[in-house]
Homo-oligomer: 275 residues x 2
């Protein structure tokens, strides 16, 4: 028997050969599937969309976290919205200045399933510095002004229920939740599929933050294999500043991030519209 899992994304499809279906159920919010794939290891799929795999999660989680967090001179308090698989929290905890990470995840089942099937991502959730809040991350941020040095939005995409995490109200809450020199980073879209929507989201962020920069990573299991992030801050430019002692520490265990990515990741395609 040949077993393949196929994700259809508009007029594109990608498929991975599958050894075994490890888990499949419906949570209160979404369809939750865990596959063991031949070429990317274990794969978490929510509502038919690949969220992360053991092989390429490094290219997502390391690049969501490090370019921004290394640019902050001394991050202590960090919040993750979404991110129930634990990968983002794991990368944040690699920064020794960090004293506390709040994970605000709406779907507890994602955490439970990740703990069981993706321990390399989720086991960090047991770290004593981690506080798990099951609930609406947008509401959490709105209720915790001036609390964080960095907020990472590790959400589903700007379609359906995820769309609120790309809108003005949310960006305003994220901004209000930041302390001085704070920074906000969100995963965004593939620039190859719809650069206009990504530019619109960046323009929305620019209403609230003085510095807004798109950057990219290569993530083979995401549509088109290339993914964007948006960095936002009032004071920090991650291309120009970086805590080099922490960077050396991060580089020791990184599978994707290197010092060359600190500026290099901000090289986005010319069709974004600036040079």
């Amino acid at each position: 028997m040949e077993l393949w899992f196929t994700e259809t994304f508009g007029d594109l499809r990608a498929a991975w050969r599958v050894n075994e279906v490890l888990y499949h159920s419906r949570s209160k919010y979404q369809d939750v599937l865990v596959l063991d794939t031949v070429s990317f290891g274990r794969m978490l799929v929510l509502d038919g969309c690949v969220m992360t795999t053991e092989k390429d999660e490094c290219a997502y989680h390391e690049m969501l976290v490090h370019p921004g967090l290394l640019a902050h001179p001394h991050p202590e308090q960090v919040c993750v919205v979404g991110g129930g698989d634990g990968g983002t929290v794991r990368e944040i905890l690699k920064h020794p200045t960090v004293k506390r990470v709040v994970l605000a995840e709406i779907d507890e089942d994602v955490i439970t399933v990740s703990r069981r099937f993706l321990p390399r991502l989720a086991s960090c959730l047991d770290d004593p510095r981690v506080e798990i809040v099951i609930g609406d991350g947008a509401a959490y941020l709105a209720n915790h002004p001036h609390s964080f040095d960095a907020v990472f939005s590790d959400s589903t995409d700007p379609v359906g229920p995820g769309i609120v995490l790309f809108e003005d109200t949310y960006f305003l809450s994220a901004k209000s939740a930041l302390r001085n020199e704070g920074l906000f980073v969100t995963q965004c879209k593939s620039l190859w599929v719809d650069v206009k929507t990504a530019q619109d989201i960046a323009a929305r962020l620019r209403k609230h933050f003085g510095i807004v920069l798109p950057y990219v990573s290569t993530i083979p299991t995401y549509p088109t294999g290339s993914w964007s992030f948006l960095f936002a801050s009032d004071k920090i430019d991650p291309r120009a500043q970086c805590a080099q002692d922490r960077q050396k520490l991060i580089a020791k265990t990184a599978r994707y991030y290197t010092s060359a990515h600190q500026a290099g990741a901000f090289a986005v395609p010319a069709f974004w519209g600036v040079d």
Copy 2:
């Protein structure tokens, strides 16, 4: 009717929705297919592998050519091995110092079909500076010592007949065909699929060149969406040197390359093994 073209690459598959099959025939060397896809425009497929599409060819051709060629202080004579679709020649001709480009393509049908269906790539082949040689590019280089400032290897992949273009004899011919300060660039592989083979090819190049550097681009229609190139020279480091007047000129029409890519493209995943 729903029409999809699917490429299978080991344990991965990618598929694109197709409006129409524009051309399908067998040349002396390979199966040649041209599709009109919904999301990537016209697509050239050789032996079942996507070679180029109208939408993302910029990410391949601009990145094969410009990081290297901009690092050469005054390139005049350039050779392309393969590259029958014309995209690489088009980018080289954007450098006003270039007086002559030799295109050594073994399969004349690829040129004919590209002229007919991919005029945005192939029409530059009519430029008076272009000399087309139908034949074995490796033999051509071996027979033209000290003739070129840059050689670009725009070949099929290191499997089957394409494998000779990744071996010692060919690299030695390419080196011998270069003039002083010459540079060689080859497309390589997806680092996500088989980084070991890419490292082996780089090691082979290092036997002949003092400076060998991997770099990357995002190419959605290639397996994993991320592709590598290898730059080789005895004297030039493209991260450190760049003809800024030509760079500004290139940037005016570039769809993918920006000045930030000149160094940024050399940020390869940490699993390549250096930082």
